[in-house]
């Protein structure tokens, strides 16, 4: 279970990333954020976001039209 859950359903690029960044900012280092999105572009974008920022993408799952990501704040 993640420390925080962000509902980004119905949001399009770049809002899921921007909202996730905001949510990560208030998490302590080591805290986890779960993001639920419907934007298929979010899969590649969260990989890229984590690669650049150094946060850890712990999981990336797709279930029907729902995309769920768990990011650990390490940066």
């Amino acid at each position: 279970m993640a420390d925080q859950v962000l509902d980004a359903k119905g949001l399009n690029c770049p809002l899921p990333i921007l909202r996730a960044k905001k949510a990560l900012n208030v998490l302590p280092s080591g805290g986890t954020l779960e993001i639920i999105a419907t934007d298929p572009g979010a899969v590649k974008d969260f990989e890229a976001f984590c690669r650049t920022t150094g946060n850890e993408l712990m999981s990336s799952e797709v279930d029907g039209g729902l995309y769920t990501f768990v990011i650990k704040r390490t940066a």
Binding site: L11, N12, C13, K21, D39, T53, G54, A75
Partner: protein, 164 residues
């Protein structure tokens, strides 16, 4: 990975403020800022409209053969002769704003707010302000008013420089 030791930066020269072309600079600026880059946007000529308090952005397909709208399962382009009629700009702008809302895409007002919140540095071109007789009170609070040298000074130290 970026951290305090190897922070990267990006500048964007923003030259257009129609409803469509307002998106790329703000999307890239806010995303880059969220990914840890220091971002500077330099608004010049028709891009300056994006710093006005009241933006009321518009789009018209006149002379833009690539612009088509999804309609009845297909796509439709508006013939130039129709796009030139009075009221066509209001119509196509309203259609585009409606689509933007329906698809969960941020408004330009929202993206601009997010850019300011993310401490994106905004520079309004002094020469364009003079040329088109814009007053500082027509503009939102926050932008620095500067010239080409202000952009060059940022660009020379930046990793990514874009012209949109």
């Amino acid at each position: 990975m970026l951290d305090d030791q190897n922070a990267k930066s990006m500048t964007i020269i923003v030259t257009k403020s129609t409803l469509d072309w307002a998106y790329p600079p703000f999307i890239l600026a806010t995303t880059a800022a969220a990914m840890g880059l220091n971002v500077t946007m330099f608004f010049t000529f028709y891009g300056l409209g994006l710093l006005k308090k009241d933006m009321n952005l518009k789009v018209n397909p006149l002379g833009n053969a690539a612009m088509e709208m999804p309609m009845a399962g297909g796509h439709m382009a508006m013939p130039n002769i129709m796009a030139a009629l009075p009221g066509a700009t209001a119509l196509t702008s309203a259609m585009m704003k409606n689509m933007i809302k329906k698809k969960g895409i941020a408004s330009i007002e929202e993206l601009r707010e997010l850019a300011i919140e993310a401490e994106v540095k905004l520079i309004a071109c002094q020469m364009t302000m003079d040329l088109f007789e814009y007053k500082p009170e027509d503009m939102i609070d926050g932008p620095i008013i500067g010239g080409a040298a202000s952009w060059v000074d940022e660009a020379v130290r930046s990793d990514i420089n874009l012209y949109i």
